[in-house]
Amino acid sequence: MRKLTFRLLLFILFSFSIYVVNLFFWAQFSSSILKPNLNFIIGNFGHLNTRLKEVKQYKNVDILFLGTSRAYRGFDPRIFSNQGYKTFNLGSSAQTPIQTKVLLQRYLNRLNPKIIIYEVYPSTFEFEGYESSLDLISNDKNDFNSLKMIFKLNNIKLYNTFIYSFTRELFKLDERYHEPIKKNNDYYINGGFVEKKMAYYKSNFIEKKIIKFNKVLLKSFEEIIIEIQKRNIPLILVYAPLPFNSYERYSNNDYFDFMMKSYSKYYNFNKIKPYNDSLFYDSEHLNQNGVKKFNFNLLKVLNTEDK
């Protein structure tokens, strides 16, 4: 029995080594069609690579922004800086509370914010979280938190990408990688913001939906709230503006508002002031005119909060 256990352990060690070596060379030299379960996406959409390099140079900010692409495309640090606030935006594409938690564990101590503004909307609690995890694994240093994150999501693509990304880190293959500041119609602004070239959204028919909360995501969200409350950092949950059709597609918006209000101070900007479609560039994101209007309205709210 002991011999069998020993051989089994030896085989596990052997096959794991073969797996890692194979994965590394396979990823380097084969075409994408031969690696369906590997999504290493350094420097993809959203400038996460640049943002996470920049965050390491920031300390003690006034406001920390969290959330999806609607956060890193919606809160412009230049507007807040003009009002005397030092901000950093830790948003990332399709970010769910699982990734938010990882980012906070890595950077909250360093950033030591006076206020946290967390952009929430129904999809925050509906995304599967695979895309955003791959984005994070590929563009930041991996640690024990990454491992916990992928065990929670338990997906083969995440395991493979984590092993590959970790191997690349060991051999320091991405040390010299520099993401371009301007990519297609996106321009990275210091402080984590991505400005989109001006475009206007043409409203389309959008199918109706009911907001459903994923239990795993909601649990991570609650853990984040508890952690922030423990540190006595004021937290503001913000539902950033959506085009009318995109907002009205959800038949139970009141339920979402009720849920968010139960966790912390919450502002739904779709109810405070209407934003017409000309202030968006697609069905989810504000264009620069919209960002300006939204940020000024948010600043008004913050100033009221200060008083």
Partner: protein, 140 residues
């Protein structure tokens, strides 16, 4: 005398190989024939109507059969075809046993055998389908 003995022995061996080969070819052909017939009848079971089935069959038998098809995911289908060929060979070789690879590498040195098993684990890890939704959000 020895020469005649060797010749006769060689003839017997050659006949054995020939018979064995012919038997295998015959077996392969009958399996392919059954598979083709079964696949063909599926057209009728899966079609909405008889007219639809006939249209489908005339599509298969048209001159386009001799042209290289062009469609999205053509490379992926070539990869699948390659895997089908590999799996068919493995299945054919292990058809006597309960599992196709039951005896594969049984007499190989441990290092080769373990490497083979590790490669199988790797292929499963790289090609097993994962059930997530298509990644559309990154376009933003």
């Amino acid at each position: 005398m020895l020469y005649l003995f060797l010749i006769s022995k060689l003839k017997v061996t050659f006949n054995k190989i020939q018979n064995n080969f012919l038997l295998k070819v015959k077996e392969a052909l009958s399996i392919s024939f059954t598979f083709t017939i079964i696949s063909f009848t599926w057209i009728f079971f899966r079609s909405d109507s008889l007219t639809h089935a006939i249209q489908f069959i005339s599509g298969i038998l048209s001159f386009s059969l001799f042209t290289v098809p062009v469609f999205d995911g053509f490379n992926k289908s070539l990869l699948i075809l390659l895997f089908i060929i590999i799996f068919t060979i493995i299945e054919w070789n292990g058809k006597k046993y309960k599992y196709a690879i039951e005896k594969t590498g049984e007499k190989w040195p441990r290092l080769f055998r373990w490497s083979f098993y590790s490669m199988l684990i790797y292929i499963i890890g790289m090609f097993t389908p994962s059930n997530e939704l298509p990644f559309i959000y990154f376009q933003f």
